[in-house]
Symmetry: C2
Subunit: 168 residues, 2 copies
C-alpha cells in the first residue's frame, strides 16, 4: 500500500504554477525536466489534473499548463483523488458472509453467527472511518494555505519558462 509518486509531483507542479509570473502557461517539458521524470509520463499525470478541473491545458504554440482555479480552492484531497481516484483503498470483499455460513439450523449457532457477521462488518466500518480521517485532514489544507508564507498576489513571482529563476 504505497501512494503514487505522481501525487507529490502534482503538488510541486501546482506550487510552481501558483507562482508563475503573469499566470502564463508552462510547457510540459520544462516542468518534467525540473521534476526529473519522463515527459510522457508527466503528461499523463497532468491529464488527470486537467480532467479533475485543477489545471487548464492549452494545446498550441506558446501553450502549456496553468491553474484552472484559485489555489484557495484546491485542497490536498482534490489532488490526491485526481491521481489515486475517488474510490476507497479498502477493497471490501464480503469475506465474513462466506466464512460463517452454517449448514445446520440451530438457534444458538444462528446467534453466534450473527454476532460474528456484526464483528467482521465492524472491521470494515473502522477501516473506512480511518480512511475518512485521513481524507478529512487532506481536505483541510489548500495550496493557498501551504503558500501562506508567500505573498502570492505580490510581485515575488517566478517565470519557469526561463532557464534561470528570476524575480521581477
Amino acid at each position: 500500500m504505497k501512494m503514487s509518486h505522481a501525487v507529490e509531483q502534482s503538488l510541486v507542479v501546482l506550487v510552481m504554477l501558483a507562482l508563475q509570473k503573469d499566470d502564463l502557461p508552462v510547457k510540459s517539458y520544462l516542468l518534467s525536466d525540473r521534476l526529473e521524470v519522463s515527459e510522457s509520463y508527466f503528461k499523463k499525470t497532468m491529464r488527470k489534473l486537467v480532467v479533475a478541473g485543477i489545471v487548464q491545458a492549452i494545446a498550441s504554440k506558446e501553450g502549456g499548463f496553468r491553474l484552472a482555479r484559485p489555489i484557495s480552492k484546491i485542497t490536498l484531497l482534490d489532488v490526491y483523488q485526481a491521481i489515486e481516484g475517488i474510490g476507497s483503498f479498502i477493497h471490501s470483499t464480503q469475506l465474513a458472509d462466506r466464512i460463517f455460513l452454517s449448514q445446520q439450523s440451530n438457534k444458538r449457532i444462528e446467534d453466534v453467527q450473527q454476532a460474528l457477521e456484526v464483528a467482521t462488518n465492524d472491521v470494515l466500518t473502522v477501516f473506512n472511518e480511518a480512511e475518512q480521517d485521513f481524507k478529512n485532514r487532506l481536505q483541510n489544507y489548500t495550496i493557498a494555505k501551504l503558500l501562506g508564507h508567500i505573498n502570492v498576489d505580490g510581485f515575488d513571482k517566478i517565470d519557469w519558462r526561463q532557464v534561470h529563476i528570476t524575480v521581477n
Copy 2:
C-alpha cells in the same frame, strides 16, 4: 494505493481463532479453505502474523495456529502493520529540494526559495499527519472490542476443525 486483501483475511482469521474451542490450534488448510485462498499464500500471510507475535505456530501433527496473546491486546493497527509493514505509505523523495535550487545568488530569490521549501515540506507534513490520523483510529480498536457482542469467555465457542460449525 490499495490495501492488501491479506489484512482483511488476517482479521477474519483472528476472529475465528478467538472463538476456537479450548484454544486448540487450527491447521492452515482448514482456514485457507474457508477463506477461499491458496494454502501456500495463506501460510505466508500467517507467517507475518507469527513474526509480529500475534499468532503462535505449532509445527507438529495436531498442530496449526492459535492466538499468541489475548484479543484485548491485539489492535487493528497491529494487524495492519504486520501485513503492510511498519513504514509510511508516503515515499518521501526530497523533490522540493531539487526543484527550487537557484543558480544565482540574490537576496529576494533566496527568500522565495526558502518559502517554497517550507511549503513543499509542509505538504509532506500534512500527509504524514493524515496517515497518523488513519493509524490512530486503527490503534483504538482491538479484536476484543469488535467481539464485544459475544461472550468470548463463555461457552459459545466453535471448533473450526470440524467440518460443520458446532456449539458445545
